[in-house]
């Protein structure tokens, strides 16, 4: 797989990978079957089943300590599973050490070798394979061009900024043309602007190369914006796997609804009082609209009246907290996100009427 692969080809890989729901064995890059990894009493990873498709940008999302990084380390070979089975492109990897796996990692702290220049860092994998100096430097320069870091060949890692180090780490991991690239919170140490820029670049790079990217993050925005599919982790288990849209629009349970974006979790009795029995429901705050005085709601809409208790300005949006009457709805507060373009919102204390489509209320597992 050459590094400078044409853009169109890579895009084709990603678009068709999102269509099939149950991938065939050949199309699976990484497969976990009932994988467990315990550290003493702590079940870091507990009976995880997962199939990451070839050519996919896959995010492992979860709070710290949820097992996502341990999963990545199991793929890399830094950890061995206590139970279960792991395959990389159909090959069993239990007992195979990291240095025999065609998988490379971009480390959270970048782990650049401080005693080597940028070029030697990037060429490291090729030097280990015994390539000649000219050839490996040539390939390393191409990898650096790929991540748009040229002219820093002879610098040492300490002389680079955080963003530049990140690019070196990326080039170093890509130069050996791995079948799977693992990224462990690679953008965590960058400031906001740079992080947003790198999100776009990483996604483009992945589409261009067609390599499977497995990306660990605790930032739900990052996972939603970059990945083709993602797995949401909590306490060593996978809560839900799906495309960003699936996970955002149809969170399976309370944890996913709360962790991915923000959501109004409506208890069964509240959902019942609002629109008849639907069980535990999730309602995204941006699906709720404010009815103008005298405006009638559409037939498929649910209407509720409440009092504004707080108002926050977030630039593009405003967030309202609306307390529903305690008598009927046991003191529920609904969070509402309104576009700032809508003009002046009601003030705190005002009574408002809210409406949202019935379909925006998504039923969840009550766990």
């Amino acid at each position: 797989m050459p590094l400078d692969r044409a853009g169109g080809e890579g895009a084709a890989v990603t678009s068709d990978s999102a269509v099939t729901s149950e991938p065939t064995a050949a199309a699976v890059a990484v497969r976990f079957q009932k994988v467990a990894r315990h550290f003493g009493e702590v079940r870091a990873v507990d009976a995880v089943d997962l199939a990451i498709r070839a050519g996919e940008f896959f995010a492992l999302l979860g709070p710290s300590g949820s097992g996502k990084t341990t999963c990545l380390r199991l793929v890399a070979g830094f950890e061995q599973p206590d139970a279960g089975h792991i395959e990389i492109f159909g090959e069993t990897v239990e007992g195979v050490p990291a240095y025999r796996r065609n998988v490379n990692t971009v480390f959270q702290d970048y782990a650049l070798f401080p005693h080597m220049t940028v070029l030697d860092n990037v060429a490291y994998a090729l030097r280990i394979r015994g390539l000649g100096k000219a050839e490996r430097h040539d390939k390393a320069r191409r990898a650096l061009a790929l991540v748009r870091l040229e002219g820093y060949d002879d610098r040492r890692p300490v002389q680079l900024s955080g963003g530049q180090r990140q690019r070196v780490a990326l080039a170093r991991a890509l130069v050996g043309e791995p079948k799977v690239l693992l990224l462990d919170e690679p953008l965590g140490a960058l400031d906001l602007k740079l992080r947003e820029q790198m999100q776009v670049e990483l996604k483009e790079l992945q589409q261009r190369l067609g390599i499977t990217f497995v990306f660990v993050t605790h930032d739900q925005g990052e996972a939603l914006s970059m990945s083709d599919r993602l797995a949401v982790f909590n306490e060593g288990r996978i809560m839900q796997v799906g495309t960003p849209e699936e996970i955002y629009d149809a969170p399976r349970n309370r944890f996913v609804a709360g962790f991915v974006g923000s959501s109004n979790v409506l208890e069964p009795q509240v959902a019942d009082a609002l629109c008849g029995t639907r069980g535990l429901c999730s309602l995204r705050p941006e699906r709720v609209r404010l009815l103008a005085p005298g405006e009638a709601a559409a037939p498929e809409e649910v209407v509720a009246e409440g009092r504004v208790t707080s108002l926050q300005f977030h630039g593009a949006t405003r967030r309202l907290a609306v307390a529903l009457p305690a008598t009927t709805l046991t003191g529920t507060t609904l969070h509402v996100t309104l576009s700032s373009a809508l003009g002046l919102p009601p003030q705190a204390g005002a009574t408002v009427r809210l409406a949202w489509p019935r379909s925006a209320m998504h039923a969840m597992d009550d766990v």
Partner: protein, 317 residues
């Protein structure tokens, strides 16, 4: 009323002289640094380097062979004397011993330091420090003399070899030319073993400190990029530990070069540099030659550091 007092004074003024002085120091950190550094700088500059310079100066004087008095005229005569075969022999013997001791202590120290830096935690780490430092708390002379007993013909080592029916092995070892001798305590092997024992902590601690600063992720990264454990050691761990090894070897090498007690107590009667200096400045009163002998380790260490720098030993610093 308290409120009024607070609002009227945005800045608290006054206070005693000491407080004023500390205010001055806090606002002028460079002055504080100067006051803190002046005494050690005077000590280092005048007493330490000054006496070294005076010593160097002595080596360019010579001794009058008839009167035994020092002639305060610059000459290279003493250095000519230093390069006589008998003296060159002493230098070569000492440097070879120092090199052997350094290599052996690096080889022994590395695994211990590696374990302590990467694996030992909590109680085990405390135990490591204790085990390495404990010998340093007891008297140097006592330790050297106990080694003389251990290595003696009637000593425990001979007894152990005899019990294991390996006395022949010891005899073969002692029959070796140059390094052998009548018993371990009267041979270069004995001198070497005692040097190794005495200076080992000075090698372990710097290596351990340098390994401590190598993040685990670097070793994982090298494995991730395809390096076998052996390659990871050669390309990542060893280069990063090199400043520590060099620091440790400066200790073991220069301490061996300068020591005169160990070779006097354990070993053959042939002189080492330290003993030569001791005899020349004490018994013979030939201070210029003693000074010239002292210059030898300084020059050797200079070349050693220069070579280490050329090899890139300090690149990781």
């Amino acid at each position: 009323m308290a409120d009024a007092a607070l609002t009227s004074n945005a800045v608290e003024r006054g206070g005693g002289g000491l407080r004023r002085f500390s205010d001055v120091l806090v606002t002028r950190p460079r002055l504080l640094l100067l006051i803190l550094l002046a005494p050690p700088l005077v000590w280092l500059g005048v007493v330490y380097l000054g006496s070294l310079f005076a010593l160097l100066l002595q080596s360019f004087f010579s001794i009058d062979e008839f009167s035994g008095l020092i002639q305060h005229e610059f000459t290279l005569k003493t250095y000519g004397e230093l390069l006589q075969p008998a003296n060159l022999d002493i230098i070569l013997r000492t440097v070879t011993m120092a090199a052997c001791v350094t290599l052996a202590s690096a080889a022994i120290a590395f695994p211990i330091a590696y374990y302590a830096a990467r694996y030992a935690r909590g109680r085990w780490k405390a135990l490591f420090y204790l085990a390495v430092m404990l010998p340093l708390w007891s008297s140097y002379l006592v330790r050297v003399y106990s080694w003389k007993l251990i290595l003696a013909k009637e000593g425990i080592l001979n007894w152990v070899f005899a019990e294991l029916h390996l006395t022949w092995l010891l005899d073969v070892l002692l029959a070796l030319p140059v390094i052998g001798g009548p018993s371990l305590s009267i041979s270069y092997i004995g001198t070497f073993l005692v040097f190794l024992y005495i200076w080992l902590p000075f090698m372990i601690l710097p290596i351990q400190a340098s390994l401590e600063r190598v993040p685990g992720s670097l070793i994982e990264a090298s494995g991730d990029l395809g390096a076998t454990p052996r390659q990871a050691f050669a390309t990542v761990i060893l280069p990063l530990a090199l400043p520590g090894i060099v620091a440790g070897s400066i200790f073991t090498f220069s301490l061996t070069l300068g020591d005169y007690i160990i070779p006097q107590i354990v070993g053959s009667s042939r002189l080492f540099i330290g003993q030569a200096v001791y005899t020349h400045q004490g018994t013979a009163g030939n201070i210029p030659l003693a000074a010239a002998f002292t210059v030898v380790p300084i020059v050797i260490m200079g070349f050693y550091l220069w070579g280490a720098k050329k090899l890139g030993a300090f690149n990781a610093l």
